[in-house]
């Protein structure tokens, strides 16, 4: 029997969708090992969110304290580690978001546990669990074993389904013994990049632009809005300062796997492909017929994106 603790993530008064995918991973592990799934939620004034989270049928350990207002790894790690010990968790996981990637290694260090990042699935037999994860920018898939008694991991959200609500777990208050005065980290502000569009990693359709836009993302954004899609970008477009950092799709940016991915003016560097090749249908629009992106696109169109995208947006509009 091996208990599983999944660390939930909340922001702006809601549970992040990525957490629901991590819950699925947790359920799978608990089923395989015959253990129990537990959830941890940290923050300030999170009572209602803890109740909502309990709707996923697992016990929720809610650490609610002023010192936890902002998700600082330094203050969150000891709280999560304490919950993990209290519930005798063998596995401690979270979604591989910026939050999870920042926090979980610190939790692992505290638990003297080895960790697997960005897990795509579980292997092994029965209770002997191995972790499948990408290496070398997704050019290699590795099966790894964690040899410490406790095992920590983050999961790539797109590889696990979003958990549906089932049953009702109990909400318990978790102890918070963090001394605010002793913290060496001070939160000094957040600049939100606002968008009315769906979140990149959660969107059903993504329209992305690259160097070929020459900095003009209008056609990309217009098509995206017609399709109710998120907007993505290649590293070249982000580095040039044309679009915000968090639009970047790629090994070093966000990994997406929507039903439809439209890459416009993106040549298809390995590091970009690693971030989107899990998409169900890939469309490439590029002036260069030799662009590597065509080698993995389901539908390739050699054309000027400034002509093709508005035309496609018109078709979408006309079909409604």
């Amino acid at each position: 029997m091996a208990n599983v603790l999944i660390v939930a993530e909340q922001s702006g008064g809601a549970i992040r969708k990525a957490t629901l995918h991590a819950i699925s991973a947790g359920r799978e592990l608990a089923r395989r090992t015959g253990g129990e799934l537990q959830l941890a939620l940290l923050g300030k004034g999170i009572g209602a969110l803890a109740e909502e989270l309990a709707g996923y049928g697992a016990g929720v350990h809610a650490a609610d304290a002023a010192v936890l207002e902002h998700p600082l790894a330094e203050s969150y790690a000891p709280v999560v580690a304490e919950i993990a010990r209290a519930v005798q968790a063998t596995y401690v996981g979270a979604a591989a978001t910026a939050f999870g990637k920042d926090l979980l290694p610190r939790v692992a260090a505290r638990l003297e546990a080895g960790m697997a990042t960005e897990v795509l699935g579980f292997g092994g037999n029965g209770a002997e669990v191995t972790f499948r994860r990408p290496m070398w920018a997704g050019n290699v898939l590795a099966e790894v074993e964690i040899a410490t008694p406790m095992k920590v991991f983050t999961v790539r959200a797109t590889e696990f389904p979003a958990a549906a609500k089932e049953g009702k777990g109990a909400v318990r208050a978790a102890a918070v013994s963090v001394d605010a005065a002793a913290l060496r980290t001070r939160y000094a502000g957040f600049k939100e990049v606002k968008s009315a569009r769906p979140e990149l990693t959660e969107a059903r359709v993504v329209v992305a632009g690259g160097r070929g836009t020459k900095g003009d993302f209008k056609p990309i954004e217009t098509l995206a809005d017609e399709l109710n899609a998120a907007v993505g970008a290649s590293r070249a477009a982000v580095d040039a300062g044309w679009v915000p950092n968090d639009w970047q799709v790629g090994q070093t940016g966000k990994v997406v796997a929507p039903e439809l991915y439209v890459a416009a003016g993106i040549s298809g560097a390995i590091q970009h492909l690693a971030g989107m090749k899990g998409s169900k249908v890939i469309v490439a629009v590029n002036k260069d017929p030799d662009a590597p992106i065509f080698q993995l696109a389901d539908y390739g169109l050699v054309a000027d994106l400034f002509k093709a995208l508005p035309e496609l947006a018109g078709k979408v509009k006309g079909s409604r």
Binding site: T97, M135, A147, E199, A240, L260, G300
Partner: protein, 267 residues
């Protein structure tokens, strides 16, 4: 206030090299593969150089690995770092081992700041900096970035993105998080890990390369540092990801629309 900065320079496969898995899945094919400093570590070295140019101080560059890792230390010295420490260890590493060894180097050197790449592009774990901060009981500011773009004036002037407080006791770090950027102030000593948009690393100059040959490069033996060197994350098997077949070229938007709407039914 001068800063003593410890930076890392891991030897990794060149990201431009084609990575292929050996038929038996025991490792990757190393023939024909070039090696270089982890690109995220190059950004760490660059940031350290900018901080030193602004505030003075010393930059110590550490690498853990076989004898060849000296090449990556020399590369950082050629960029302008002051001296190097090679922690000799042949055999597999994982972030637990790496952070335990770096903690030993930290105890010997007592730097004000440690800057590491957020991940190395071979194992892509993104853990060593966080483990190190926890082991040492320090604050961490991961995924350091900056609000200005890499085409901005601040970048042209090679201004550091990591800002030292006037009293010299903390640094402010802009971090890339989901949905925006966050700023943290961390008390020194602290651990910072670098994201891609923090800076554009400089190339080593010819005089820099010549000077680097004379700079101090100390060797430590990992086995003598009292650290458990057995990796806890053990790679059992490697395989190539399923390849994606290229599809069809369409002639025009009309045909593309038909494919998407009638055939794939995704729009």
């Amino acid at each position: 206030m001068p800063l003593k900065i410890l930076v890392t320079a891991k030897r990794v496969e060149d990201p431009e090299s084609k990575i292929k898995v050996k038929p038996d899945g025991s490792g990757i094919v190393t023939e024909g593969v070039n090696y270089k400093m982890n690109p995220f570590d190059e950004i760490a070295v660059e940031e350290a150089l900018r901080l030193k140019e602004r505030h003075g101080g010393e930059i110590v560059v550490a690498s853990i690995g076989g004898e060849k890792s000296a090449t990556e230390i020399r590369a950082a010295l050629a960029m302008g770092a002051d001296r190097g420490i090679l922690v000799r260890h042949d055999g597999p590493l994982d972030p637990m081992v790496v952070s335990a060894l770096l903690a030993k180097v930290f105890e010997q050197e007592k730097p004000d700041l440690v800057i590491l790449g957020k991940q190395s592009i071979d194992d892509d774990q993104n853990q060593a900096g966080q483990y190190l901060a926890e082991r040492l009981g320090l604050a961490q500011a991961t995924f350091a970035s900056k609000t200005e773009s890499l085409e901005s004036e601040a970048e042209q002037k090679k201004e550091p993105g990591v800002k030292l407080a006037p009293d010299g006791r903390s640094v402010a770090v802009v971090r890339e998080v989901d949905g925006g950027v966050e700023t943290l102030e961390v008390t020194l000593p602290a651990v910072v890990t670098t994201d891609l948009r923090l800076n554009k690393p400089r190339f080593a100059s010819l005089p820099g390369i010549m000077k680097a040959k004379k700079k101090e490069l100390k060797e430590l033996q990992a086995a003598a540092l009292g650290v458990d060197l057995a990796p806890k994350v053990v790679v059992k098997r490697l395989e190539s990801p399923p390849s994606r077949k290229g599809g069809v070229k369409v002639q025009d938007v009309e045909e593309l629309w038909k494919k998407l709407h009638d055939e794939a039914k995704v729009v």
